[in-house]
């Protein structure tokens, strides 16, 4: 029972992280229907920027965190401006190959600058952040994850509900042509959605780095794990991404705990194939898929 509860807590924390990184992915897909295969590399870039700012530049953690987020926001903006905008309206294969190429480029850049080794952040989370419920221990990194994800969920909820930019983004996601004809600056919305997605990705990269250490290969493979999450939750549902993330996180930790640790990494993809065969639009997605 104890083991079960411990796995449950860990699974929910990891799942929330998956959910948050999937949220950025869904945001891009929703507004511009681009599948971003470079999401894991964005995650890794954020984690490595933060690493450099903390260890090389010796900045205080809060300053480094904010600087990284600003940097990733700008990076997302630039990616959209220089790489994605020329391809608006092009065929699916070109856009997919572009993001695959971006992924390879970023990965190469990271390997060039930081190398392929495992780096770790200096300990900066206070040990008092660890939580203890009876016999269940929640490590500081996990409770930080919990706090950060809840804070960002609330922030994004408010952004999409209240701010005018958020409402523009929702309108573009709902119906691009109608939004365009009502005077929404669709290109700005595309750029903003990439910027926000990069910001969210870098944040989840930093938290993953705190939990697992910073390594290009691990972080970029988490970018691909976004796919089971978004398919499970529905490709165009932000709330679905969070719930899908939690389900996948729980599934992973339980498989790792009860069955075998090696099966842990492949279970999400088996689930992915199963869902695609049974319910391709996911739990909360818009039902509009065509069958061949």
């Amino acid at each position: 029972m104890e083991f079960f509860l411990q796995l449950l807590v860990n699974g929910v924390c990891i799942g929330l992280l998956y959910g948050i990184s999937a949220m950025g992915f869904v945001m891009i897909f929703k507004s511009s229907s681009v599948l971003n295969f470079a999401h894991g590399e964005l995650l890794a870039l954020g984690a490595f920027f933060f690493l450099s700012l903390v260890t090389w530049a010796q900045l205080p953690v809060y300053v480094a965190f904010i600087l990284t987020m600003i940097g990733c926001f700008i990076l997302g903006f630039l990616i959209e401006r220089f790489f994605l905008r020329p391809l608006i309206g092009e065929k699916l294969i070109f856009v997919i190959m572009l993001t695959v190429g971006l992924a390879a480029m970023f990965k190469g850049f990271i390997l060039l600058v930081w190398g392929g080794n495992l780096h770790t952040y200096p300990e900066f989370l206070p040990p008092s952040m660890a939580m203890q419920f009876g016999s269940i221990y929640v490590a500081p990194a996990y409770s930080a994850t919990l706090i950060i994800s809840v804070v960002f969920l609330i922030l994004f909820g408010l952004f999409f509900k209240k701010s005018s930019q958020g409402i523009y983004m929702r309108s573009v996601a709902d119906n691009q042509k109608a939004a365009l004809s009502l005077g929404v600056h669709v290109r700005r919305v595309f750029a903003l959605s990439w910027a926000i997605a990069a910001l969210v990705a870098c944040m989840s990269g930093i938290v993953l780095g705190i939990i697992n250490g910073v390594n290009v290969h691990d972080l970029s493979s988490i970018g691909l794990k976004v796919f089971p999450v978004v398919i499970l939750g529905g490709l165009d549902s932000i709330g679905g991404a969070i719930i899908g993330g939690i389900i996948i996180g729980l599934l992973e930790t339980f498989t790792g705990g009860y069955l075998s640790p090696s099966l842990r990494d492949v279970v999400p993809y088996i689930v992915l194939v199963f869902i695609l065969m049974v319910k391709p639009y996911g739990l909360f997605g818009l039902v509009e898929i065509e069958r061949v």
């Binding site: 599948l35 699916l92 294969i93 997919i96 695959v100 691909l224 796919f227 089971p228 398919i231 490709l235 090696s262 099966l263 990494d265 492949v266 993809y269 088996i270 992915l272 194939v273 695609l276 065969m277 391709p280 898929i289 065509e290 069958r291 061949v292």
Partner: protein, 173 residues
């Protein structure tokens, strides 16, 4: 005398044969012949072993790309799991050669057939899905095949890999 063909200044193709034509112009055919001649009759005697190794790698990648061309180019199904089939073929050939002692010329086509069977299993989703969803399904297939190849240790020797018996082509080297 035969009339030479040049690139037309538009798309005037009328039949599927014209669409699939590899050499659109006679010059293209000529240069390809010259290239192949140089590649097979000059290059092996002139280039260093390392350059030959690179040329071989190019050729191998080209064979794999032909498979991808059939999928993406002719049928419009984007596959991101192509590398997994590459691996299945390699493992099939290696297992046939080391475990069963099958000869080189039999092992290669047999590996192709085995990979085709595996491809049929992973092609099932393509009967139901299209576009983005199919792309994601092929990505999942890649991970599942990779997992099976690494974890089925009794057959594939896991991460150790299998060393193929090298066929001696030249006694001199």
């Amino acid at each position: 005398m035969k009339k030479l063909s040049f690139h037309s200044c538009g798309n005037y193709r009328e039949t599927y044969e014209q669409e699939l034509n590899i050499f659109e112009t006679d010059f293209g055919r000529l240069w390809m012949m010259i290239f192949l001649g140089v590649l097979f009759f000059v290059a092996p005697f002139v280039l260093s072993p390392y350059m030959l190794y690179i040329l071989n790698t190019i050729g191998i990648a080209a064979i794999a790309a032909i498979g991808l061309n059939i999928l993406i180019g002719y049928t419009g199904q984007i596959s991101l799991g192509h590398g997994a089939f590459f691996g299945v073929g390699a493992y099939a050939a290696a297992i046939l050669a080391t475990r069963l002692g099958v000869g080189f010329y039999l092992a290669i086509p047999a590996a192709g057939i085995i990979t085709a069977l595996v491809g049929m299993i992973f092609g099932i989703p393509s009967g139901r899905l299209k576009g983005l969803y199919l792309t994601i399904a092929t990505l999942a297939g890649q991970f599942i095949i990779e997992y099976v190849l690494i974890q089925w240790e009794s057959l594939t020797k896991g991460t150790m890999g299998i060393t193929c018996p090298l066929r001696k082509y030249s006694a001199g080297r």
